[in-house]
Symmetry: C2
Subunit: 464 residues, 2 copies
Amino acid sequence: MDAVLKVLADNHGSYLRDLAEFVAIPSVSTDPVHASDVRRAAAWVAQRLRKAGPIEVETWETPHYPAVFGRWNGRRHMGTAGAPTVLIYGHMDVQPPDPIELWHSPPFILTARNGRLYGRGVSDDKASMLLPILAAEAFFLAGEQPPVNLRFIFETEEEIGSVSLPPLVRERRDALACDLVLSADGGMWRPEIPSITLSSRGLAGLSFSVRGPGKDLHSGRHGGGLANPLHAAAELVASLHDGGKVAVAGFYDDVEAIHPVLRKSLEQLSFDEKKYLADVGASAGFGEPGYGMLERQWYRPTIEVNGFYGGYQGPGGKTVLPSEAHVKLTCRLVPNQRPDDVISRLRHHLENYCPPGINLAIKETHDGAMAYRVSPDSPAVRAAADTLAQIFGIPPDFVGMGGTVPITTTFREVLGADTIFFSFSTADEDIHAPNEFYRPERFRLGLEAWVLIWRNLAKQLHGR
Amino acid sequence: MDAVLKVLADNHGSYLRDLAEFVAIPSVSTDPVHASDVRRAAAWVAQRLRKAGPIEVETWETPHYPAVFGRWNGRRHMGTAGAPTVLIYGHMDVQPPDPIELWHSPPFILTARNGRLYGRGVSDDKASMLLPILAAEAFFLAGEQPPVNLRFIFETEEEIGSVSLPPLVRERRDALACDLVLSADGGMWRPEIPSITLSSRGLAGLSFSVRGPGKDLHSGRHGGGLANPLHAAAELVASLHDGGKVAVAGFYDDVEAIHPVLRKSLEQLSFDEKKYLADVGASAGFGEPGYGMLERQWYRPTIEVNGFYGGYQGPGGKTVLPSEAHVKLTCRLVPNQRPDDVISRLRHHLENYCPPGINLAIKETHDGAMAYRVSPDSPAVRAAADTLAQIFGIPPDFVGMGGTVPITTTFREVLGADTIFFSFSTADEDIHAPNEFYRPERFRLGLEAWVLIWRNLAKQLHGR
């Protein structure tokens, strides 16, 4: 048996203990109350990376939260007929566990149940980002050198739009210089068939508040005389769509027609929409008319309201005409749409539709991210496809991703490197929702896959 | 000096201590967590009424919360050339204090500040319902008999639509038999001019929930493919109005034209809309086109959303496509509109407008109440007007009330008695909102007014 794979098999129990330790740190980057936990996660990752072998590890401070960097330069560089340099990306921050009462086990205690591993962040992205660290360690423990030069960058702000990472990548472009990025974030499409994701959607977000009267008022005494902020917010939200299509002027202007390769992959995929709807518990699909479910989720832009609140929410009723209402929303973008342009169109739309007697305050909430795509013909995609075919015994599907990995655009712009999504999370693992989970077999196969892809990349990229 | 008024003057300090004790009981009827506090308030009122004099006091249990009844029958009955019997109504339950962080002093500690008395429920309706108890006591302490026979009924469910009171009034119609009801609930229009309210609006309410997917989903992964319950709820809420006018089919069908007397009063009132808007902190008025501010608030029906919530409300953002959204709303009705008819039209409307992929669940939340009005020519209204003219030195305005006192309709139907609103709260006292307050001078004048109105009623009604 291959010595590296034997190390992996022999140590699997300790890898699960590592994962449990990692999940136990509630590194919720969206909520300032968890600031020290986010920093604790960074310290844990730095320490674990150091333990993995002769890797130089640095913690890079930013104006907000730190990132953890690692470098192993044991191979001669590709330019001198040596090995390629691969940058591995992942994130250690997680979403809030709300609504916490819907969890069947405590969100920050890794819990094995029903053949799954439950915990907030286990799928997005803690288990998947731990794999390359452990794979590198396995090479060193087996007395082998990894077949490629390694760089690691693990950030703490992915769930808040990777605020600090783009400037950090620019500042540290020399340390991060590489031939290819492998992202441990960005899950596979399905549990049963391996897949490689060739595109992700971009992101733009804003929140707005509408204010009517200066204080909460009795809705009997005052009702009928004044604009109700809940009515105004509802009208504004309703005005954003018309029968599933976004109704913001110019929203679709910059959207390019779908790439022929993607169109073809889309047509060849077998997709059971009924099963999907049953899985998510929806009675029907809904969205932009004229497009199929997958095309809408992967290749069409959206506006989704993520939160809407105002007035009385307690038990029973309260006859109040509230002073304020609040809406949080995000847009998913496709290639060629600029986040700042989309935000400015939205801003214009909301200001236009705001009714009399209502004051509107708009706040941009996410650093925008452009959409991303990579060509299926690139040697790196071929190396990844070969690896997954070896591990799973069937060739991977090429798919799109509805979510966002904002950093891909930065890596291309600053480092000139493509990013290949190489995550062993799966899209059905309830990330950002209660009872997030990971599949234990993926934790095992993923470790082997990281060993193999470095070997395959060394061959594919060396021969370029 | 009149002996009864002297007693009032001598004991004013102790009346304020009574009020502080009463306010300290958080009798929030809308929230089951306060069930024992509501019962504690009933016990407190029963004990205070007993202490006031030779009044027979009973606590009447209902399937929900109890009511407190009192009877003093010292005068011969009007039918035998004696005095009229007057039923005094008030309620001891209060609204929730939310949003609690906006209070400048603890809501359940009566706090004197800026020449006002602050506390949840002090204006609605604890101070005003305490006045007739204290006024009756003053007669007994002065060695005089009250000039009318007295009945008291204090309920604990006004803020939840007086659920148990109508059946209770029917069951106890003999004990409650009276010539007139004086309601200690239903505040005056303005602080500077006395007023008598000749109408109140009715109430109908419902809550609805919309459900899309069976669980919260990642809005990147799934967005664009499924109906978002927040969008659906916003569309439903937006569909209820069209430019300030209610857009529910048939909503205005049963609305009668305004009564000529009310039309005339409305035209004669001086109303400073700019000042009103400044007082409530609104930049403009808004509502049904073609009607003035006061007409919209007193004599036109409304739909107001009181609460709207779903998705993420915490700090920062969360890219979630939520499973559910919830809306609470109430309608204010005018004479001739039936609550059950309005609810059924609303139900029909919501079901009609609910978009595909969304499940709608509707729940009626308030026992409906018809609107109420009383004639300005009645002897009781004349007695009340004379009293206020004596106390304030100027004749009262005749006004309408935007809010609801559901029990007026029941009193008329079951007891055959008109209700005169005789409260010393004022409409600007932030009832149902943070920092509810009462005016100390009204607490003093109100006590004298109750003494005088019984005397005036004895004359006016006796002579009928």
